[in-house]
């Protein structure tokens, strides 16, 4: 097989996966609109659309080179405006632009996690400002530490497809944003009891989860960056799916016991939790290990969502903090346990686990601090939240002057004979 063929196969694989990961934007959009109220659907759509659009541009101009440029002390890459350089120090077997587009869709995935946690009460312009900064510097720096040859990768930290880089980063940003933003009106009673604000379309939510699950079949295997890696690619497909399936099953069981009924929206979150959890070690855990990781995720997600909602009293309409933040961190740590090469259960001792913990903590610290500064600054300058009246009327009409469901009248009266 000559070099031309290898390059072609590798490139095809990477760009195909980039397209599949791009489709996850639709997944996020559907999950977020489905789990929130109809009066805000158009606003959620805009946030998802624009964090991708704006993120793509920002990442191309600055983010990519900060992430993958020649390292300055292992902390940050060398800035190369518009990513014009060759980036030959990366030793890519694919064209730079294939790598650029692949990394762009990953950056956009991290950015869009936050829109769900901050849904239904964030000023649209403030959200655009956030999107700009996360793809400009917050995400790329972390990406540099772990994928760009930075200090965490030097330590031996493992995060194959981004449980930490993408998901926990998004999750911690979501945590900070939702916390500084405050809960939706009516979410908590005056004595702090959590109220249910049901989403308007579980069907859209489910569609979103299925699209995300599908997208993960590009997200994880694509990170091999080579279509020649047949064994690895096949293995990653299997571990990815097993973790998701196990997590969904376990979450279903937990909700069946805990709420007396198998809960649909929580189980959907469960599947996502499994996917996030496996993302760090998808290439180096066994199928059984993947199933175990999924099972852990399935339990953790229920209690994480309840803890964040009822104890921390942070209003997260879609469970993004639990799914991406908590499970991203846990998935990364579990690599230290289940990695076939060096994991705790395979005689590797605690070394890898400790390195994983360092990485998780460092990224959490960086993300929490930078997003704290970012959201506080936005709040102090242009404001982060809409006015109460705007929130009650709905962001569709207040921020965008439209109604998402203007012509939508479900005909409920049964037209056929029913018992």
């Amino acid at each position: 097989m000559n070099l031309e063929m290898i390059t072609a196969i590798d490139t095809l694989w990477v760009v195909l996966c980039a397209a599949i990961v791009f489709f996850m934007q639709a997944g996020f959009c559907m999950v977020e609109t489905g789990f929130t109220r109809a009066k805000n659907a158009g606003n959620i759509i805009m946030k998802n659309l624009m964090d991708f659009a704006l993120g793509s541009i920002t990442y191309w101009v600055v983010g990519f080179s900060i992430m993958f440029g020649v390292s300055a002390g292992g902390f940050i890459g060398g800035l190369d405006l518009f990513s014009t350089g060759t980036f030959e120090h990366l030793g890519l077997t694919i064209p730079k632009e294939a790598f650029l587009i692949f990394q762009t869709v990953f950056a956009a995935t991290a950015a869009t996690i936050v829109s769900g946690a901050m849904a239904e009460r964030t000023k649209f312009s403030s959200y655009l400002i956030y999107s700009f900064f996360i793809t400009l510097v917050i995400y790329p720096v972390v990406g540099h530490w772990i994928w760009g040859g930075g200090w965490l990768s030097e330590l031996g930290f493992i995060d194959f497809a981004g449980s930490t880089v993408v998901h926990s980063l998004g999750g911690w940003s979501a945590l900070m944003g939702a916390w500084i933003l405050g809960p939706r009106l009516g979410k908590y009673t005056s004595d702090g009891k959590s109220q249910a604000i049901p989403g308007h379309s579980l069907t859209l939510g489910a569609l979103g989860v299925f699209i995300l699950w599908f997208g993960w079949f590009g997200f994880n295997p694509g990170s091999t960056l080579s279509g020649m890696d047949s064994e690895s690619i096949a293995h990653i497909f299997v571990t990815t799916n097993l973790s998701a399936a196990m997590a969904a099953t376990v979450t279903m069981a937990v909700t069946w016991i805990r709420y007396k009924k198998a809960d649909v929206s929580m189980t959907l979150n469960g599947a996502l939790a499994g996917l996030v959890c496996i993302t760090a070690g998808t290439h180096i855990v066994s199928p059984a290990g993947a199933a175990a990781i999924g099972a852990v995720a399935g339990v953790v997600i229920v209690f994480a969502i309840e803890f964040i909602d009822k104890v921390l009293k942070i209003d997260d309409p879609v469970g993004a903090i639990g799914v991406h933040g908590v499970c991203g961190a846990i998935g990364t740590l579990l690599v230290g346990v289940f990695a076939v090469d060096g994991g705790l259960l395979y005689g590797g001792g605690l070394d890898l686990l400790i390195i994983q913990a360092i990485g998780v903590a460092a990224v959490a610290a960086w993300t929490l601090v930078t997003t704290f500064i970012l959201f506080k600054t936005i709040k102090a300058t242009v404001g982060l939240r809409v006015h109460a009246e705007e929130e009650i009327n709905g962001l569709d009409i207040e921020e965008h002057g439209i109604e998402s469901y203007a012509d939508f009248q479900p005909k409920n009266i049964t037209l056929t004979q029913q018992v």
Binding site: Q195, A196, D263, M266, V302, G319, N412, Q417
Partner: protein, 146 residues
Amino acid sequence: MITNQNTNIVLTLKNNVCIVPNYFVSKGGVHMDRIVKIEIITRQNKFESLKEALNKINVSGMTVTQVLGYGNQKGRTEVYRGTEYSVDLLPKIKIEVVVPENLIDPIVSVTTQICNTGNIGDGKIFIYPIERVIRIRTQEEASNAI
């Protein structure tokens, strides 16, 4: 009295010609019946059968609305992502018909027959007097309008 093909009866009163539907006529003459509105609130799944039964007793028009409400049935408790909440308003169907008062008994009888399940939540029938009825197309009033 003249009877025409359509089972309407043409009456000639002093200076007036009045065409009234057949069932208004009973021994002794024509009643200018009171007109009432009958409002039926009941379960959604009873609608089809009720509509057909009403059509059979010559109730030919109705207005139907989907409503939310509760009475003795109260609501129910649901769980959303770990939080319990009560759904107090249950979906029902509201059927409004405007009819002459001699149809009250048939309608009530048919409705209770069809909508009675023996469980709380079967619904209610409300009867209101109607002051005036006007047919928009022809400006006819009263019994000619329904």
